[in-house]
Symmetry: C2
Subunit: 364 residues, 2 copies
């Protein structure tokens, strides 16, 4: 997607042919900066500190992390160490594991001398596949927006989204935002309620920024506002991404997604989830029971970094120094609250049957 009129992906091979570059998402919305990652350790740091984040982008970044490692040392031990190290960076998004599996599947059978080149090619292919899946999600999802617009007699379609499932969370296009970009480009009048998404404010800092860059009308609201807006008939469609979806359709996504799904359900508003198949975890059934929920540094909650009057980046504390805080990063929305999935293969029901029909797989 475009930044100041120039097309960017979130991740791309560096000019030196031996590193990758990414947009440093911890600097947005105030500064657009790219950062060069030259080693697997650089990639792990970027994932952990959320310079790159979003389930699909984490997966592709990890694939490139393996490629960087292969370039330094293409032994079996080195490959194993890369997978182990990268897998430990974030526990919840399943794309990470899928991308690493794909890399191992490609590299393990090869002699060490051929692994570096093959790894670069496979990582690039994963990036292209991810971008293509997002584009397809956009094509399938835009029909929902179009229908909502027609059902409302052509009136503006108000969509509420949580966190950032835009192009910044992926290689390009985004998942939940892909249909909205296409709708906007096709002249369907839309407006997006952007949840601020505490504690890291991905909504206010990333979603608002990328929608603004593309000219899509939007309004930032507190995470708590979605219920009120739904209650007053001011949301026509809820649309989010997912970090991991179980075989029966339970959705693990940014903390607070479950509360929005409850609000949608209580007010009869559709709640759709944009689901690239890379985010499916066929091994799991019950999301509440089985998905590990990442707990991050409480400081992300008690301190906030923003820009002061003079344009300087400043971190400020918000809470009493002696008060403990807990920072749960995800929650699970049971399939019963999900109207359906927008996948790269089309729309499908949020159920084991729906997912199996779409992807030809069944849970173990």
């Amino acid at each position: 997607m475009k930044v100041g009129g120039v097309h960017y992906r979130t991740i791309w091979p560096g000019d030196d042919g031996a590193s990758i570059e990414v947009i440093d998402q911890t600097r947005l919305p105030h500064d657009f900066e790219t950062v060069r990652l030259a080693t697997r350790a650089d990639v792990e740091h970027a994932i952990r500190t959320m310079q790159v984040r979003g389930a699909p982008l984490i997966g592709v970044s990890a694939a490139y992390g393996v490629a960087l490692q292969m370039q330094a040392d293409a032994s079996d031990e080195s490959l194993d160490a890369a997978v182990k190290g990268l897998l430990a960076t974030r526990p919840t998004a399943v794309d990470l594991g899928h991308a690493l599996d794909a890399m191992v599947e490609t590299l393990r059978p090869l002699p060490a001398a051929r692994r570096a080149e093959a790894a670069w090619l496979r990582a690039a292919a994963l990036a292209d596949e991810s971008a293509a899946a997002c584009r397809a999600i956009g094509e399938h999802g835009v029909a929902l927006v179009e229908q909502a617009c027609e059902a409302g007699g052509g009136a503006r379609v108000d969509v509420l989204t949580h966190c950032n499932a835009g192009w910044l969370a992926t290689v390009d296009w985004g998942t939940a935002l892909a249909p909205l970009y296409l709708a906007h480009d096709r002249g369907i009048p839309i407006h997006v309620w952007v949840d601020e998404t505490r504690p890291r404010n991905q909504g206010a800092s990333l979603t608002a920024w990328e929608l603004g860059q593309h000219g899509v009308p939007h309004t930032i609201v507190a995470d708590s506002a979605g219920g009120h807006l739904a209650q007053r008939g001011r949301v026509r469609l809820f649309l989010t991404g997912t970090d991991r979806t179980t075989a029966r359709g339970d959705v693990c996504n940014k903390i607070g997604t479950y509360l929005k799904a409850l609000a949608a359900h209580d007010n009869g508003v559709p709640f759709w989830v944009a689901l690239p198949s890379s985010s499916l975890d066929w091994r799991l059934e019950d999301g509440v029971r089985d998905i590990p929920i990442e707990e991050r540094d409480p400081r992300e909650l008690t301190h906030v970094t923003g820009r002061d009057d003079a344009g300087r980046r400043v971190e400020v504390g918000l809470a009493p120094e002696d008060s403990p805080a807990a920072n749960y990063a995800f929650d699970v929305t049971p399939a019963r609250l999900v109207t359906g999935f927008i996948t790269e293969r089309g729309l499908c029901e949020a159920s084991a049957e729906g997912l199996a029909r779409a992807f030809g797989r069944t849970a173990p």
Copy 2:
């Protein structure tokens, strides 16, 4: 309640006998400062900027605002102007209107010469009544906490609260927190999940601070975390205050309360509301339809004030400068989601019948 071992109310007559003093709640949790209010305009400013906030405290502050006005000019015109000006400061909390009605009822029949003294006495009486109602809510509510503890075999009772309905929101004791202070004082093991409460962070800055001052175990969490915690069985009781409750029991409270009530309902966890009768609005039935929801300055959402490393108060911006924001301050929780009310007269059902039985009134 105590601050550093010294007993404070949130509002009290100044030593000069011609002003009032309040705790400046915009300076917490980092600085404990009091501010002197000498005129009705000072009181209006304090309410509007939320130096004083919380439905019961807003009511008592407004009563003192009338007293300050009567001391300057005790004419009928002056009384009318005071009521009009004070009523316009915040639109949602109904205590404000009730306190002003009480002042007018006392003052209108009196000759101007006697109004100033009568106004001071009436305002002080309203403050005492409010503190007594909160203390009674504490006594009635502590039984719920005790029962939850017994039902759990003596295990710690985890309570989730939203915003600040503690002593800072009232004259003393608090509404939702009053039972928790008493439970803690009586040795019932409790722990409070404190919602940060965006955008003004009353949870992280006020509730955490006052619980900490009293030594009550607590943990600050993002507003989005309540669903996850309820889902995992980590909340035994939800307990909030109310800014306005209709005759049928719909509860208007800080934005986000409705989402917590949905989470409680979806997980079979009791959701109680601490309700001083001053917060009842017998004229209204349907809260979603009839209660005006205050929209505040969007800057409260896009900018945050905290303390930097050097201990300075700094405001920082979090969002893209061109992105609009909307700041809805309250939402409405339908009575069907409320397990019951803890009132100064005891526990009652969240229904027209329950409220009528408790207070001997019926809706018009």
